[in-house]
Subunit: 332 residues, 2 copies
DNA sequence: AGTTGGCAGTCGGTAGGATCGAGTGCCAAT
DNA sequence: ATTGGCACTCGATCCTACCGACTGCCAACT
C-alpha cells in the first residue's frame, strides 16, 4: 500500500513520536536509521503521507504526528513484536512460579502485564460453560438460605446463595446435591440446563429448580475481569480530564468485558483510538490476545495505553503472556 | 481549645475552602452565616489562627487555607456527620436489595460509597478467623493436585490448591476431608491449627498436614480488599503527578489493608494528610469506620479523598454504611 | 478594650507584545 | 528525482504592565 520509502518514513515518525510525544519534523526523520534521503525529500513525502491521511499536523509550522490510520499501518505492516531479554525473563519466572489459585493467578497476570508494558492491563477470566464440573455441594447457611458451590476442573469455584421457599434441613440439601451431582459431575456446567431429570421426590425437585435458576445466571455473564495498573494512565496523559474519563471506563467491569470481546470478535489484536468504539478511549489503544485452553478460546488478556504506545513491545507481551497463560491453564 | 469566635471562623474557612478549593479571604468569612463581626476583626482572628497553626497562607496577599491541624480541629470539634435525604435513600435501597454473595456485596458496597461521597472507596472484607466453618471438601483436579474448599458461615468460600507428594485417589481425599471435617465443621478455621488429631492412617495424616499448611496461610492475611472509584482521584487533584502517586497506593492491596488497619488501630476514624503515614497521601484524607459482625470488629469500610473533602458527608456515609453492612452480615 | 472602616502595600494571575526557533512549502540548482 | 536554500508561519517563552483580591496596621468609634 505504501512504497518502501514512505513506509520507512512513517515508521520513523511513529517510533520517534512514541518516544518523545512531540510532533516530529523532517530533520529528525532524515537522521533516523532506515531513512537515507535528505530532509527536503522527507518533507515532500510527509506532505504526501498527510494527504493520504497517515500523518497530521497539529498546526502549520509543526512536525507531524501519526493519525489512527498511520498507527494502523504501522501495526499491520511495520511492527515486529519483540520482547527484550529482561522481559522474557520476567515472563518465564512468572509462569515457573506457583500460584495460589486461578483467581490469584489471573490477578497476578495483570500485574505481570503492567510490569512488562508499563500500561494498564486487563485479563478476562475463562468462561465457565466449557469447564468440567468436579464437585457440587449445597451448604446450609441459615434456615432458608443455602449456598450452592461448584468446583470446576480448572480450579475455580462458583458459588451462589439460594433463597429457599421452605425450611430445608441438611439431609434434604445433601439429597439435592447428590441429585444434581449425578447430572453435573464430569460435564460442563451448561449441561445442567438440559441434563437434570426429575428425582421422583417433589421436595428435591423444588430445590433443584431454584438451584438451576442460579446456575443459568452463573453460566452466562460469569466472566471475571481483572484490571491493574490504571495508575499508569496518569503517566500516559497530562490532561487530568482524559485520565479521569479513561479510569471511569476501566472501573466498569461489564464495559471492559464487552470492549475486549468486541475487539476479539472483530478479529483484531489491536484497537486504536476510535476503533475501540468508545469515545473516552479516543486517545487510547488496546492490544489484546485471546488465550485458549484445550484448543478453545476461553479468555483474553490485554493492555490499554495511549495511542502512542510501544506497539511492538505490547504486542509481544500480550501474545506471549496469553500463550503461556493458556498452556498453564490447560495443565489444570 | 478555641473560643467560640475563632471556632466559627475556622469552620467558615474550612467549609468555604472545601467548596471552592480557593484560599478564602476575610471578606468571605465575614459574610458567612455564624460569623457576625467585620472583616477586620476576622483578619485579626485569622492571623491568630495562623499563628496557632490552624490556618496557612499560600502567599502573602492571599486568603487562608486550613492546615492539617485546622482540618483536625474541624473534624473533632465542629463537624456534625450528616447524610442528606437522597443519600439516606440510596443506602436504604442498597441494603434492602439482595446481593448475589458476600464478595459481590462487598464490592457493591464500594460502589455505594463512591456514589455517596464521590470519592474512592475501600472495603476490607471480614477476617476469617472468627467465621465458623460449615463445610470442608477436597476435590481432585489433577493426579497430584487437589483443591481444598471450605465454606464459611458468612457465605464466603475459601479455597487453596494443594500439591500432593503422591497420587491420591478420590477415596483417600474423601477420607481426609471427612477427617478434617470432624475437627473443623462448626468451629472457626483457626481451630484447625490446634484441633486436628491423628487419624491412625498415615496416608490420611500426610495429606492432612499439607492441607493444614495451606489453612495457615489462609487464616492470616486472608483479608480481601475491594477498591472502587479511583477515577474520582482525578477529579480531586489537578496535578496529574499527584493522581498517579495516589493511584499507585490504591493498587497495592497489602498497603491499603495495612493503612486501614493502622488507622483503625490508632482509634481514629479520620486520618488527615501525613496522619496517614504515607507520603503520597499527604494531600489526602481517609475516613474509615470498622464494622462488626456479632459484636466483633471484622472489617473496615473507608473513603479516600483530598484533604479538602466534605467531612460531615463522608463521616456520615462511612458510619451508616459500616453499621448497616455489619447488621447485614450478622444476619448470615 | 474590643471592634471597625480605611488605607497603603503585597503578590499571584492575566493580557498584550516582542522574540525565538523548530518546522514547513516552494523553488531553483544539481 | 533529489537536494540545499530561503522566506514564512506559528506555538512557546519571556517580559511588562496591570488588575484585583488579599493582608496588616492604624486611627476612630462604641
Amino acid at each position: 500500500m505504501l512504497d518502501e520509502r514512505k513506509a520507512s518514513i512513517l515508521r520513523a515518525v511513529v517510533e520517534e513520536y512514541i518516544q518523545t510525544a512531540q510532533p516530529v519534523g523532517s530533520g529528525h526523520v532524515a537522521d533516523a536509521p532506515g531513512v537515507s534521503v535528505s530532509s527536503a525529500t522527507v518533507r515532500n513525502e510527509m506532505a504526501a503521507l498527510e494527504a493520504d491521511g497517515f500523518l497530521a499536523q497539529p498546526h502549520t509550522s509543526a512536525g507531524r504526528i501519526p493519525t489512527e490510520k498511520g498507527y494502523r499501518y504501522f501495526v499491520d505492516a511495520l511492527a515486529e513484536p519483540s520482547l527484550d531479554r529482561f522481559a522474557a525473563q520476567q515472563v518465564r519466572a512468572f509462569f515457573d512460579h506457583a500460584h495460589a489459585g486461578i483467581e490469584q493467578m489471573l490477578a497476578d497476570t495483570t500485574r505481570l502485564l503492567t510490569g512488562l508494558t508499563n500500561h494498564a492491563a486487563v485479563v478476562v477470566g475463562p468462561t465457565h460453560d466449557a469447564a468440567v464440573v468436579r464437585s457440587v455441594q449445597l451448604v446450609s447457611l441459615a434456615p432458608r438460605v443455602a449456598l450452592f458451590v461448584a468446583v470446576l476442573g480448572n480450579g475455580s469455584v462458583e458459588k451462589r446463595t439460594i433463597e429457599l421457599d421452605h425450611d430445608a434441613d441438611d439431609l434434604l440439601l445433601a439429597d439435592v446435591a447428590a441429585h444434581i451431582s449425578l447430572a453435573l459431575v464430569g460435564n460442563p456446567l451448561e449441561a445442567a440446563l438440559a441434563g437434570i431429570g426429575t428425582s421422583g421426590r417433589s421436595e428435591i425437585d423444588a430445590v433443584t429448580s431454584l438451584v438451576l435458576d442460579e446456575i443459568v445466571t452463573t453460566v452466562d455473564g460469569g466472566e471475571q475481569v481483572f484490571v491493574h495498573g490504571s495508575s499508569r494512565m496518569a503517566e500516559a496523559f497530562d490532561a487530568v480530564e482524559t485520565v479521569r474519563s479513561v479510569l471511569t471506563i476501566l472501573e466498569q467491569q461489564l464495559v471492559v468485558v464487552a470492549l475486549l470481546r468486541d475487539v476479539v470478535d472483530r478479529g483484531l489484536n489491536v484497537a486504536i483510538g476510535t476503533e475501540t468504539g468508545m469515545q473516552p478511549l479516543a486517545d487510547c489503544a488496546l492490544v489484546v490476545a485471546p488465550y485458549t485452553v484445550d484448543g478453545e478460546q476461553v479468555g483474553t488478556v490485554g493492555v490499554l495505553g495511549p495511542t502512542r504506545m510501544n506497539y511492538p513491545q505490547a504486542l509481544a507481551a500480550v501474545a506471549v503472556v496469553g500463550q503461556r497463560l493458556g498452556h498453564r491453564l490447560s495443565e489444570g
